[in-house]
């Protein structure tokens, strides 16, 4: 295993990049879920514009 990784260093690079990517994606999904929960709690629905000048 060690010899394989020593000869194929790009696999280590890919593993590190995929780890960072996985962490970022998990963070985004959790954030998305939490925002959706807050939106359900708060009325009126936040899809509406926040304010409009007449």
């Amino acid at each position: 295993m060690f010899d394989f990784l020593a000869d194929h260093q790009l696999y280590i690079v890919m593993l590190i990049v995929l780890l960072i990517w996985a962490g970022f994606v998990i963070y985004l999904f959790r954030l998305d879920g939490r925002i959706s929960k807050l939106e359900e709690m708060i009325q009126p629905k936040p899809d509406q514009p926040v304010a409009e000048k007449k």
């Binding site: 995929l18 998305d32 000048k53």
Partner: protein
């Protein structure tokens, strides 16, 4: 980017792009479909093109979006467009910083130094200053509507300079960056002149993935900013 299936699809898409960009071997004479040809002068370092260029592209998309929302705010005086404009500008600045950092790392290994004041580096630095000033301007004005109007006008003026700094200036000046005037391949776009079809495929897949990722981030930023505003108005 609203449905969960689309988000999972995007994540898988970008994961495949990452794997292809890093793992596909670079060989002098490609025979198999997955082998990339070696680009003289870049070699393995050419892989950065699959991440660095889409980041710069996403910067342009975000800054143009900030400009469009600025125009829509001035037309309607709807503060929601101001919120979208500032969200787009914030994400654009983030991607601009990422493009600068990845470009700088690449420059260290290709040119020998992190920063060389190449026309491309100078233009992206000026762009960062312009959008840094945008946020300084916003933080200097307390009245909400005045701040929105001023920053909308500023976003429009700044947005007009973006194509010049990203696409025009680095190509009309002699520089070290691929695609600049002194480049042996001419002053045309790097990707069309030097990339094999399979590299182009991965490159455009990455471009699409990064653009969609921007829209997801933009959606999250706008929604969280709206919630923040609602909370502030309730206090």
């Amino acid at each position: 980017m609203k449905s969960t299936t689309a988000k999972i699809g995007l994540v898988l898409w970008l994961t495949l792009v990452i794997c292809a960009a890093i793992l596909f071997p670079m060989v002098p004479a490609p025979e198999k479909w997955y082998e990339f040809p070696i680009i003289p002068g870049l070699e393995e370092k050419a892989r950065i093109i699959f991440f660095h260029v889409p980041m710069a592209w996403t910067t342009v998309v975000a800054f143009v979006a900030a400009m469009i929302y600025g125009i829509r705010f001035l037309m309607t005086k709807n503060l929601d467009y101001d919120l979208r404009s500032v969200s787009a500008a914030g994400l654009g600045t983030m991607f601009c910083i990422l493009a600068t950092v990845t470009g700088s790392l690449w420059a260290k290994f290709n040119w020998g130094s992190f920063w060389n004041w190449d026309p491309r580096e100078t233009s992206i630095f000026v762009l960062l200053l312009i959008y840094g000033a945008y946020f300084a301007l916003r933080s200097a004005v307390d009245v909400e509507e005045k701040r929105a109007t001023l920053s909308a006008v500023y976003a429009i003026i700044a947005g007009v300079t973006v194509p010049f700094f990203i696409f025009v200036m680095p190509r009309i000046m002699t520089g070290l960056h691929p695609g600049s005037k002194g480049d042996p391949q001419g002053a045309g776009p790097v990707v069309q002149f030097k990339m094999a079809p399979n590299m182009l495929l991965v490159f455009f897949a990455s471009l699409l993935g990064f653009t969609l990722l921007y829209f997801w981030l933009f959606n999250l930023k706008v929604r969280s900013s709206r919630l923040e505003l609602q909370q502030q108005s309730q206090e």
